[in-house]
């Protein structure tokens, strides 16, 4: 049974409405920096809709990314500044009232645990803390996330899920929740207006989807629906469901924010010629975005050379799971290899940043403020600062953009007297190092070059025996090119877990290796 609890909140409904006004304007006429803020705001909205976050300062912080009232009025005009002011005022009221989603969900979890019902919560690992803050008897064992974890899970009584059922983007979950239930009841908590994705719960064999079947259900038996997909639906409305026109409360349906976000993002992508891309996810939780029509080098360890172990293929045209994505780190001039153990500059700036965080733990807000003044408009900046201190692994953890990185180095050197960062072109050299680790520096400017790709392919074939010897069952390895070859450098191999198609992204984020979670922003 699908037990759908739809939560109504006039305040939150109004806030969402104001944010839609702001986002529409920003996506319509924003510059690069403003679009980035719009992306952050969009992410915040998506998070509120799919995670039981407390309505504390987080709402206001997200809105303050836009700047102060005067700046907004000058830049965006009356309508947006009114929306901004209304949004801030609503957010303040919401802080006092708390999040009704959290109350409802918390009560339900407590009740189920009291009754000794076996429960699981389908939630992204990053959102687990918000659930645990609702009920401290929850442990990691109560949470599920990902296709493999769900497939391998034993049966239980009730699955709890916050947000609409979607196959992509925020709050995404496997169709198998509906087509292969491991439980008796799926209790879903959604904000009013949030619709489940059309065709979700797809059985590819019959072409039927549970969401579509439920949407058309009229109480009569549906012919042609396989038993595997038969569900009963119970809908409950919770919260401000009373019509109170005197206080501006109308019982009108809220708009589906995900449809809205998809619409404005698509329009922006069309206008700005963003490209269709495939996200190649590696087993080591990293990934890379590749234009859908660009060929990539792959190595299939199950094949030998004659069978085509090395191939140049479109990321959309071949099933890459179990193969290695090959990233050539090759150039004609002597460039040298990219090894994390050879990293020089990152050790210095990461040391400085770690030192600042360690010696001014209470002062992270100040560092964040200084960075914001330098146009580092990232949400949860305080959380990201310690992440950037992490030592290099597959890539060097660092800000994604040169402007942000440069601002970080400037703030550290000028405000925290880290003079070692003031050396000639330190920031630029350190940035080159970061980009090399992401694999994009060498490829830049010649990604469309078929000749270069073919040279890299031919060279890779010659390295077949080295590849076979180096591949000892690890998820990631490097094969250096011997000095007697014309091309110099190395190839990095990443074991592919899966390929996600259909993302639309700007050119600037293509061909860079990042943690898979960093790509969430492009999923909508």
């Amino acid at each position: 049974m699908l037990d759908r609890r739809e939560i109504f909140s006039n305040l939150f409904g109004d806030l969402r409405k104001q944010i839609r006004v702001i986002l529409e304007a920003m996506y319509e006429g924003g510059n690069d920096h403003e679009i980035e803020i719009a992306h952050e705001l969009r992410n915040s909205l998506s998070e509120w809709l799919t995670v039981p976050v407390p309505f504390d300062g987080v709402l206001i912080n997200a809105l303050q990314l836009l700047g102060n009232r005067d700046i907004i009025e000058r830049r965006w005009g009356d309508e947006v500044v009114r929306a901004f002011e209304a949004a801030v005022s609503i957010a303040e009221s919401m802080q006092q009232n708390g999040n009704p989603m959290r109350r409802t969900l918390g009560d339900e979890i407590e009740k189920l645990l009291r009754e000794n019902t076996s429960i699981r919560i389908y939630a992204h690992p990053k959102s687990v803390e918000y659930f645990i803050s609702l009920c401290n008897t929850l442990t990691e064992e109560h949470f599920l996330y990902g296709y493999d974890v769900y497939s391998a899970s034993k049966s239980f009584d009730v699955l709890l899920k916050v947000g609409p059922l979607r196959s992509v983007g925020w709050g995404k979950c496997p169709d198998a929740l509906l087509t292969s239930p491991r439980f008796r009841i799926l209790t879903q908590f959604v904000w009013s207006g949030s619709s489940d994705e059309e065709h979700f719960g797809l059985d590819p064999v019959t072409g039927a989807s549970v969401v579509d079947v439920l949407a058309s259900k009229t109480g009569m038996a549906l012919n042609g629906v396989p038993d595997a997909l038969k569900w009963s639906l119970k809908n409950t409305r919770i919260g401000d469901t009373v019509n109170d026109p005197e206080n501006g409360i109308k019982d009108e349906p809220d708009e589906d924010d995900f449809s809205f976000l998809f619409r404005i993002k698509s329009r922006y992508a069309d206008v700005n010629r963003e490209r269709s891309a495939a996200l190649i996810k590696f087993v080591n939780a990293y990934g890379i975005l590749i234009p859908s029509r660009e060929e990539v080098l792959v190595y299939d360890p199950e094949k030998n050379e004659e069978d085509g172990a090395i191939e140049l293929v479109l990321p959309t045209g071949k099933h890459l799971e179990g193969c290695f994505f090959v990233l050539p780190m090759i150039e004609i001039a002597d460039f040298g290899e990219v090894h994390v153990e050879k990293i020089k500059y990152s050790k210095i700036w990461k040391g400085c940043l770690a030192d600042v965080i360690k010696s001014h733990p209470e002062d992270l807000s100040e560092l964040s403020r200084l960075l914001r003044m330098n146009k580092v408009g990232l949400q949860n900046l305080k959380g990201r600062l310690p992440e950037w201190c992490n030592p290099p692994s597959t890539v060097i953890p660092a800000p994604r953009k040169w402007e942000h990185f440069n601002a970080l180095i400037a703030v550290l050197s000028e405000h925290y007297n880290k003079h070692e960062l003031l050396a000639d072109d330190f920031a630029k050299k350190a940035w080159v190092e970061i980009r090399r680790s992401r694999g994009n520096a060498i490829n830049e400017g010649r990604e469309e070059s078929r000749t270069q790709k073919e040279l890299e392919f031919d060279l890779l074939i010659k390295l077949m025996s080295e590849i076979v010897n180096t591949n000892t069952g690890r998820d990631e390895f490097i094969v250096p090119v011997a000095p007697d070859h014309d091309l110099q450098g190395s190839y990095r191999f990443f074991l592919v877990e899966s390929v996600e198609q259909g993302l639309v992204v700007p050119d600037t984020v293509l061909r860079e290796i990042h943690s898979v979670t960093e790509f969430d922003i492009w999923r909508g």
Binding site: Y147, Y150, S151, S167, V168, P174, D175, A176, T179, S180, P181, L202, D203, P204, V205, T206, G207, P226, D227, A228, L229, D300, E302, K303, D307, H319, E321, G322, S498, V499, E500, Q501
Partner: protein
Amino acid sequence: MKFTETDGTCFECLPEWVNYLLITGYDFAGYINKGQKISLISMPCDSPGAGLVAFGAMRYYLSAQPLSGEEIHRHLEDVKARMLFSGKDMYRYIGEDDGNAVIEEIIRLDKRRNPKRPKKEPITRTASLKGLDLRFEDETILVSSNKALPNLQIYEQLVPQGNVINEGTLQQSHSAVCMAGKRKGVSVTKALLFDTYFEAGGKKASLHELLSLVDGALDVVSRVTMYNARTGKIDRPGLPPEIVVVDGIDAFLKITEEMQRSSNNNFSGANIVAVIDRTEKREKLDSLQTKVSELRQWYEPDLQEFSAPPKGIALATYFKRI
């Protein structure tokens, strides 16, 4: 008849879903003369489902008439130039003598490298086909009484309403049924087959053993071939399969791609049954749906042929428009 998915322990009576898949495989094999068919079966989890359908289909062919000695001799006569193996020794077929096969040893070149060594005369052997365990290079044994498939009790109890098993079939390799392993690797499919066991009449055997899949040595009788969807190769050459049982979406896409590539390859005339796990990622579910839409240009849905699946399993069958 008992069944378990836990490497040979905790046996239970055949669950409904196992029985359904076995019968579907058996029935599907019986429909082979009614035009090309494609069946898709969706399961709620990863399972040895493809192996079970293949087992049902294999069981169907155990009731068929095995090749007679005369037919085997005629075949060997037709391909006389091909080398034969009996154990590690190589032979060529000379002819038939009163029902027995006459074969002549082929002396390997490396055995004559030493000029001081007297030249060996090739040995000629005459024996019954079933006693020689002959096989072509890279193929399994044609016919053997010594290495006939064991576990007759299990095969007999598998489909109680099925036709009587012709024991001669257990002595002959066959390639009408082909399993296409998961695109991730044949080993992933095989691991499930190794963990799945049947028990009847005091005998138990893994599904891998019962399917008589080749696992290294070719000196065996095998009645099911395995297609590697990754390398695009079948584990042993033979006649094109009549039924291909596919494990997973990726392998199905690969098989249909092969099938459509030309009208004269291993799969162009074969009936296909694909067993799909519904817990696959959405991208894969979508790619399967796209493929099905494409196939529907040439295939019609067939709503009547098979019995309704049990709860949790969905089935769709298509037959080719003539």
